[in-house]
């Protein structure tokens, strides 16, 4: 009988914990060679999900079975631990040779960039607390439940007398000329909706440690220590926080996120490392979350282009660099 928890989620145990598996369909095998053979067979059929996973995560150049097996083993290697693996992959995807265009735009943010941030991020934050609620529902660990409740308070309700990030976000939008009613009545762009569907699906179907890793790894985006791990830039140009070029509400929002997320991501990843019984499942789910996050960051920039069409030049510069 296949072991499952009370929600029907597969619970690996015994030897299964250490079995290599296909990162797309979870086909399990005794060794990476068989997983490579499985992936090759799927690619020969042009199976979209398998081909895309390889293109986005490993290489777009076809490899032979042996080389693919070695690459997979290396890719999923946890020699520095799970938390560091997540950190390094995040840097590669969003802060590497070609940083994400939204992050590039945030180095010299304009009104359009910040309004794109406001209009899409309100939907992200409203979904954020709902997905974290799934962690609380599923976990049997009190330290995790308390951690998530505090995080939800900071983001959505306010904590220790400070306004929630959600409110600071809306105030930033108001300071840039939109009314609260205009902000709240703007629906998400399709890419934001698609990303939210991905995170909700993870929340519904995956183990709570995977959900926790999928969400809190995204808070690395504002982690100032990423420069130590190869990030080329910070989330935004730090001098913004001390300059008068933006309204106070903009500085307040950016400062809050910047100061909170480093602590949030670091503490959550420590818990993920401590409680993960199936690290590869966590790795695979985190990568899905990164794909959704990339799409969502692009939606912020595209919303910004509705205010300032010239923002498309940022993308052009990133692609050509």
């Amino acid at each position: 009988m296949v072991p499952v928890d009370q929600r029907g989620v597969y619970l690996p145990s015994g030897p299964d914990l250490f079995m290599p598996r296909c990162p797309v369909c979870e086909y399990r095998s005794q060794d990476w060679g068989e997983v490579a053979s499985h992936l090759k067979a799927k690619c020969d059929l042009s199976d979209v999900k398998h081909v895309m996973w390889l293109n986005r995560n490993l290489t777009s150049r076809e490899l032979g079975e042996e080389e693919l097996a070695r690459s997979l083993q290396e890719f999923f290697s946890l020699r520095e631990g799970l938390a560091m693996w997540i950190r390094r992959k995040f840097v590669e995807k969003f802060y590497g040779e070609r940083p994400h265009p939204f992050i590039v735009a945030m180095q010299n943010p304009t009104r359009g960039v910040l309004l794109g941030y406001v209009l899409e991020h309100q939907h992200f934050l409203r979904n954020w607390v709902r997905v974290l609620a799934a962690v609380i529902f599923k976990t049997d660990r009190d330290d995790v439940a308390k951690y998530e409740m505090e995080n939800m308070s900071v983001e959505f309700f306010g904590f220790m007398g400070r306004p929630p990030h959600y409110e600071l976000l809306i105030r930033m939008g108001e300071s840039l000329g939109l009314s609260r009613a205009e902000i709240l009545s703007t629906p998400p762009l399709p890419s934001t909706s698609s990303s939210i569907r991905t995170w909700r699906s993870i929340a519904e179907s995956r183990h709570w440690v995977e959900v926790m890793a999928a969400m809190h790894s995204l808070e690395l985006v504002a982690d100032r220590t990423l420069r130590k791990y190869g990030a080329k830039v910070h989330y935004f140009r730090e001098s913004i926080l001390d300059s008068q070029e933006f309204p106070e509400a903009v500085r307040d929002f950016l400062r809050e996120g910047y100061e909170a997320d480093q602590h949030h991501a670091g503490e959550a990843l420590e818990m993920v490392e401590k409680y993960a019984q199936d690290p590869e499942a966590v790795q695979v789910t985190v990568l899905k979350s990164f794909d959704a996050f990339s799409k969502y960051l692009s939606a912020r920039l595209e919303r910004g282009m509705q205010f300032e069409p010239q923002l498309v030049k940022v993308v052009k510069e990133v692609i050509q660099c």
Binding site: S46, D47, V48, V51, S60, R61, P101, V318
Partner: protein
């Protein structure tokens, strides 16, 4: 039809997918009377939709040449040519391979 991805000529299994340059997969489709290689049917759909979008915006009868740069993460900037005419644009695709964002540069 001549297609380049990141400066490299593509469109066959050996050279790479006509949209993303990948050499995984084994999918072929005829676009603009040329049999092109794609790594999967989503890339083929995206490519077809992109060519159709260019034709409907420009009024061209056919696209003879495409230069594509970028990827899923960044979106793509492209140059399409037909005879001595050309158009530069940015494109991003939705979940089903539809054109979600198209901006002339």
């Amino acid at each position: 039809m001549r297609v380049r991805v990141e400066g490299r000529e593509v469109g066959t299994k050996e050279s790479g997918c006509a949209l993303c340059g990948s050499t995984w997969g084994d999918y072929h489709e005829e676009v603009e009377r040329h049999r092109l290689f794609f790594c999967c049917d989503v890339c083929a759909r995206e490519f077809r939709n992109m060519v159709q979008e260019v034709k409907s915006r420009t009024g061209w009868g056919r696209v003879e040449e495409l230069e594509i740069r970028g990827n899923y993460y960044t979106g793509r900037t492209c140059v399409a040519r037909s005879g001595d005419r050309e158009v530069k644009f940015y494109v991003r695709f939705g979940e089903e391979g539809e054109v979600e964002s198209f901006r002339v540069l």
